[in-house]
């Protein structure tokens, strides 16, 4: 079995299993830059929050997959990802780390660790399980 790098909530079951290089997006400018680069479809997008509302243009422009480090499938981003049928793993944590997201009490180092481990990695999303979404190494 391929190496599972991270796991989180699977926002919706889908046989779609997008593959791409993880791109960590920290700001609206990152999203604009990615859209303007014309390379949106090459990337699985990683963002910190489920309330990261600046991701919406990327979803409407054809993002292939999303990973968040916080937030719930019932959030705005979860609702949007189901509408666009964009596979999405929310509140992902690294399988190699004990660190977990806790609402209102998460050290920035938690997010930095995940971003460092995943940004630039070639991965595939496995969203076939009805609860757990998986980020699988694809390099």
């Amino acid at each position: 079995m391929a190496d599972v790098l991270a796991e989180g909530y699977n926002v919706f079951d889908t046989a779609k299993s997008p593959s791409g290089t993880v791109k960590y997006l920290e700001s609206p400018a990152d999203v604009i830059g990615l859209i303007q680069s014309g390379r949106l479809a090459e990337h699985i997008l990683l963002v910190q929050g489920g309330t990261t509302t600046f991701l919406a243009p990327a979803l409407s422009m054809g993002a292939i997959g999303v990973i968040t480090m916080s937030g719930a499938p019932e959030s705005h981003l979860g609702i949007l990802s189901r509408e666009f049928q964009t596979p999405c793993v929310m509140t992902a944590h690294l399988t190699s780390s004990e660190s977990r997201y806790v609402v209102g009490n998460t050290d920035p180092s938690h997010f930095e660790e995940i971003a460092k481990a995943l940004d630039g990695r070639k991965v595939r999303l496995d969203c076939t399980d009805h609860e757990v979404g998986r980020v699988v190494a694809d390099d």
């Binding site: 919706f12 079951d13 700001s27 609206p28 400018a29 999203v31 604009i32 859209i35 303007q36 929050g49 489920g50 309330t51 509302t53 600046f54 919406a56 243009p57 979803l59 409407s60 916080s70 937030g71 719930a72 499938p73 019932e74 959030s75 705005h76 979860g78 609702i79 949007l80 189901r82 509408e83 666009f84 609402v103 209102g104 009805h130």
Partner: protein, 206 residues
Amino acid sequence: MTALASDKTDYDVLNTVALKKMATPQVVAEACGLPRTEVEAALDRLAAQGLLVVAGGAALPTDEAEPALAAAAARRYGAVRADAEVGGLVERFETVNSQFLTTMSSWQQVDVGGRKVANDHSDAEYDDKVIARLDKLIARLGPLLEALAGHDARFGTYPARFRSALERIDRGEHEYVSSPTLDSVHNVWFEFHEDLLRTLGRERTE
């Protein structure tokens, strides 16, 4: 920044672009109730200040847009923030908002034996119940929207947009429940929530 705080057109136009994340001049004009030429002039001014960029015919907010709007909102909306009636209604809104998000998810997915599966909308009775719940939740926003509209007429546009979406849903256009590309109930709600938070200077919670 001062211009944004004092110029209602520029504030409303940038606020609309920030709420929609990406919007054509026509969409902004309709949302703000302003002539398109006026909106285009405002978009040019805002782009020159580095607050938005135009890509593919649509305006997108830059990283500077949110802080600029937050600073302008702090100057513009002191009276709203001090309004005890608004404060009380906003506290109740948080509960309604959670119920709304859950209801919206129940429109998209149904529980089958403990497992969430996509709602194929074959069960009209189930769908009607969800729509009725949305209708009630929207009605519960009424007093808050009215109180806010007393401070800024912009908030008076939301009831009309909700009404328009609900009328379409009543006519069978169910994509007006949650479609992200239409002025659906979900989009209007989401924009209102963001607008509310910015006006009050609050952060979104997870």
